[in-house]
């Protein structure tokens, strides 16, 4: 008990006015702004797929891009909330990526069903995963770096969601850059690795966000 009083007095003496952390929504908006700029620059450098105007008239492609954007936004907001001890008392918003991923899964199943006759498989395979991951490295690094300044009490999930957010930037870039419509290829080399990266994010969260 004496130790506790001593500690309290010591902590009280140590206290200086601290700058409160920004609101998580503001924080996520900042991350999204950076990621969007990064995506635009990358697309400007690598080039959009030549048939992009044609593809933007296809509902399934538009829905896929819209849901990838949705995943990017919801995971960014969720990662920002998960960086705070009490999720900023917005638990439902923090878990919103679950709904977004469920919708995305439905869309993929629907697209798989609609892929008749199947679109030809591209000649490459793992290069797509590698490309997405390389593209996601920078957003992942700055998100983790930003999250370390706060105090996540759900560091596993925070890490996983941050990785998924970064991966969605990479996935968006590749879908808008590469001419490829094989759903099998997309599932195998674009979206299944996303799950693996999400799992790796659990470990990364423990390693880098534990405080």
């Amino acid at each position: 008990m004496e130790n506790l009083d001593e500690l309290i007095n010591k902590l009280a003496q140590d206290t200086e006015a601290v700058k409160p952390a920004p609101h998580p929504y503001l924080l996520s908006l900042k991350w999204m702004g950076w990621a969007a700029a990064y995506l635009f620059v990358s697309l400007a450098l690598s080039g959009l797929r030549p048939d992009v105007m044609l593809k933007l008239h296809q509902p399934l492609f538009v829905a896929e891009i819209a849901l990838l954007v949705g995943i990017f936004i919801s995971t960014s907001v969720s990662a920002a909330l998960l960086a705070f001890p009490d999720l900023h008392q917005k638990r439902v918003v923090a878990y919103s990526p679950v709904a977004m991923f469920a919708l995305f899964l439905l869309l993929i199943l629907f697209a798989w069903n609609a892929d008749n006759p199947p679109a030809p498989l591209p000649v490459h395979n793992f290069e797509c995963t590698l490309g997405i991951m390389l593209m996601a490295l920078l957003p992942a690094a700055w998100t983790f770096n930003a999250m370390r300044k706060y105090a996540s009490t759900h560091y596993h999930w925070a890490g996983s969601i941050a990785v998924l957010s970064a991966f969605s930037v990479g996935a968006l870039w590749l879908r808008l850059h590469e001419v490829n419509d094989s759903i099998i290829h997309l599932i195998e080399w674009h979206y299944l690795p996303m799950i693996a990266c999400g799992v790796a994010g659990l470990w990364l969260g423990k390693k880098y966000l534990k405080w």
Binding site: L4, I8, N9, T15, A17, A21, A151, T153, W211
Partner: protein, 168 residues
Amino acid sequence: MRQSLDGDQRAYAELLRETSRFLRPFLAKRLSFTNEVDDLLQEILLSIHKARHTYDGNRPYKPWAYAIAKFRLQDYLRAHYADQLHHAEDYDELEESLQEPVTETDFSYESISGEVQKLPEKQAIILQLMHQDGYTAKEVAEKLGMNESAVKVAAHRAYKVLRSKLER
């Protein structure tokens, strides 16, 4: 909390006292020993201090403080059970080798003292006390403020390491 974020020391001390008052019963319900509660309470207050910039003055304080308390409690329990599991494994191994004398070995302490010095500090001290100075496990336990079985487990672990090194 808002006052303390602005640097008001008295308000901050009062807030931490109040926090420890409402967290103590929460921890006492979940932990068996008073010293565990005190230790964890101190750790939680340190965490609250470290994370105070993440508190939003427009929101209730208690859910934020409880979130940190639960987080530290889970961490503590995880470490506690992992430690117990580790000890349980050691006891299993110890039981298996009960036929082997725990405090008697085939080699003299002097011949392996070089290897003993490379062991973790506690294990090295235990072996030194038992084999060079001739203390029993019980006496070593009293000397080091450990319980007897922990001393035997540590000695057993040290023997295993030494045996594998000497057999190479």
